[in-house]
Assembly symmetry: C2
């Protein structure tokens, strides 16, 4: 009430919307708005335009689910990519993480989430049917399941494994083990057990 | 390089701009962008419009420095406000904090920062001359110095005190003491000393 009359409806509205972003609350949204107001030309208006442009032009790729302005996306239409290899990830953020690592040159398939009985997410809510269809197309030789190492992520990986069993594609998953730079003392028992089980000759 | 080709220039650009906001880094900006893309109509486009509207219409009040779409701002032109009382704050965020407390019904004066030899901020960089001018106008009976209880905040308060000494306006400052709900064990010596010195009859 007091704040509505002080900040004016324009600022009030902007703070309310910004506070909805993950990682921002009302306090940090207010701080961000004051920061923006002082940088109208250099940040505030460019940000408004970038939001509008992305909202208008960015859409999920109809083949893999990656977000891009091109459709199929740049990854799917890149001739240098290995079209026999598909890496299945939960979300676009995982695809970005793998791309930042720069160690993978195949294609992707974004599920758009994981199976979750608690949240009522079933197979029909994820891009699983389209994955099976892609594999049936015949070009793909190996599917790498790169869902998160969480209970839901692993459940989803097992479900996809079952669905792909009828096809004769190879299915693999990411290795478990000690993170590079990780200290044994800080790792959980599950990771240590997995690292021991998958030990390799030195 | 890898990320530029993956995310497309529109997303890349949006992430870069969002990551400049205080409280957001590249990682949280990426998360925010994915969150926005899933809410194009309900959040992303309204946010773009709110940014544009605020950038266009919101400006510092020419009297007190508060941010508003009206100029003079709604506080300065509110007839219910006590025009004999002016509260001097460092920044608009401090004005908002005082308004949220709802305990003050006078006017404000926003300095736009504090004196700081380290950062090269001198009196001419702050709205001090305009404060002295407002006081010379004669309507103001009391100036409350509400700069932060930091070294720079208190230096600024002293400087303003000196500048106002020639006028015959009353100058006061916020009370120091134990915060409401605060535990003595967690307070610094300075606060405890101030609270003891300013003790009141029970």
């Amino acid at each position: 009430m007091a704040s509505a009359s002080t900040q004016g409806s324009e600022l009030e509205n902007l703070i309310r919307l910004l506070a909805k972003l993950p990682g921002l609350g009302p306090r940090s949204a207010r701080r961000a708005v004051l920061y923006l107001i002082k940088r109208k030309e250099s940040l505030m208006l460019p940000l408004a335009q970038a939001l509008e442009a992305a909202a208008e032009h960015v859409a999920p790729c109809r083949v893999c689910g990656n977000l891009d302005t091109a459709n199929p996306c740049q990854l799917c239409s890149d001739p240098r990519r290995d079209r026999a290899l598909v890496c299945v990830v939960e979300d676009v953020s995982d695809l970005w993480a793998l791309e930042r690592a720069g160690a993978y040159r195949g294609l992707y398939h974004v599920l758009g989430g994981v199976l979750s009985a608690l949240d009522g997410v079933g197979p029909e809510d994820l891009n699983i049917a389209s994955l099976v269809e892609r594999v049936r197309g015949g070009e793909i030789k190996e599917v790498i399941l790169a869902t998160n190492a969480t209970v839901d992520g692993q459940t989803t990986a097992h479900y996809i494994m079952d669905r792909l069993a009828q096809t004769n594609v190879a299915v693999s998953q990411l290795a478990h083990g000690v993170p590079v730079g990780g200290e044994l003392d800080y790792l959980d028992e599950g990771t240590l057990a997995a690292a021991l089980k998958s030990r390799r000759p030195f």
